[in-house]
Symmetry: C2
Subunit: 131 residues, 2 copies
DNA sequence: TTCATATACAACCATTTGGTTGCATATTAT
DNA sequence: ATAATATGCAACCAAATGGTTGTATATGAA
C-alpha cells in the first residue's frame, strides 16, 4: 500500500474535496461502480462543466482517478487516500479516548493543576463512542 | 450518545472545518487538553482574531465547544462529531471492499456487462488496506 | 467526410474564505 | 476607579470556490 506521508496542503485538499455533498455523492457512486464523467453528470441538476469541475477537484485531491476508455473518461475511487484520512480521524478519536482515561485518573487526585475539570454550560463530554 | 442524522450542509461544514491545517492542529490540541482561545492563539503565527475565527469555524461545525470560565473561553473537542465523519469515511471504505469482493466474483463470469474491468493507466486499485 | 458524443478549458460572476486592523465589551487585578 | 487581560465583532481585502455559458478538440458512428 505504501501510503507515504502527506503534506498539510494535500490533506487540506482531501478534506476540502469532501466538503461538498455533490462530490461526496460522486465518491460514493464511483466506489460502487466506475462511471464516465457524462454518466455522472446525468445524475445531477447542474451543467456538465460543473460536474467536470467537481471531478477535477476530487482528482486533484487524489480521491478519484480518471482513465481514458475510448472517448470517455472513466472515474474510479482511490481507496488509499480515503483510508488515509479515515485513519487521521481515527487518530483524533484515539487521542480523545486516551485523554478520557487520564481524566478518570485525575479525578482521584482531584484538581490541583490549572486544567479546568468541568466547564459550566454543556460540560466536557467524556463519552466514549461504542459501535 | 444519540447522534441524530446530520444534514448535507452540516457534514459540509465539518469537512470544510477540517480542510485547514491550523484548524486540524487546534482540534488535535484541544483533544489533548482544553485551552482558552488566547492560549491557542499564542501558538500560531497569526493574529488573535484569525485564531478566534478558526475556533468559530470549528464551533459552527460542531467539532469543538466553548464554555466560559471567568474571562476566558475554554475550547474543548467534541468527540461525537469527529466520530460521525470517521464513520462516514469507514462507510466509503466498506463500500469499496464490498465491491472488491464482487469484482472477484465477476472475474469468474468474465466481463459481459458494460462495466470496464481494468482501465489502462493506473488501473483500478483493488488493494484492501490492512492495519 | 460528416455528424453526434464526450471531454477540455477559458472567461465571467457572486459568494465564501482566511487573513488583517481597529474598536467595543467583559472580567480580573491593583 | 483604573488598568490590564480575554474576547467579540465589524469593516476591509485578496484569493479561492462553485456555478454559468461558450468554444474547441478528440473520438466513434453513419
Amino acid at each position: 500500500m505504501v501510503v507515504y506521508e502527506l503534506t498539510d496542503s494535500e490533506v487540506d485538499a482531501m478534506f476540502r474535496a469532501l466538503a461538498d455533498a455533490t462530490r461526496r455523492d460522486i465518491v460514493d457512486r464511483v466506489l460502487h461502480e466506475n462511471a464516465s464523467v457524462s454518466r455522472l453528470a446525468e445524475r445531477y441538476d447542474m451543467s456538465f462543466a460543473a460536474v467536470q469541475k467537481h471531478v477535477a477537484v476530487l482528482q486533484a485531491a487524489g480521491l478519484v482517478t480518471k482513465s481514458r476508455q475510448g472517448r470517455e473518461q472513466i472515474v474510479s475511487g482511490n481507496l488509499a487516500s480515503i483510508h488515509h484520512i479515515q485513519k487521521l480521524l481515527s487518530h483524533f478519536e484515539a487521542v480523545w479516548k486516551q485523554r478520557a482515561l487520564q481524566m478518570a485518573d485525575v479525578l482521584r487526585d482531584d484538581a490541583t493543576t490549572e486544567a479546568p475539570p468541568s466547564p459550566t454550560s454543556s460540560g466536557t463530554r467524556v463519552d466514549i463512542p461504542h459501535d
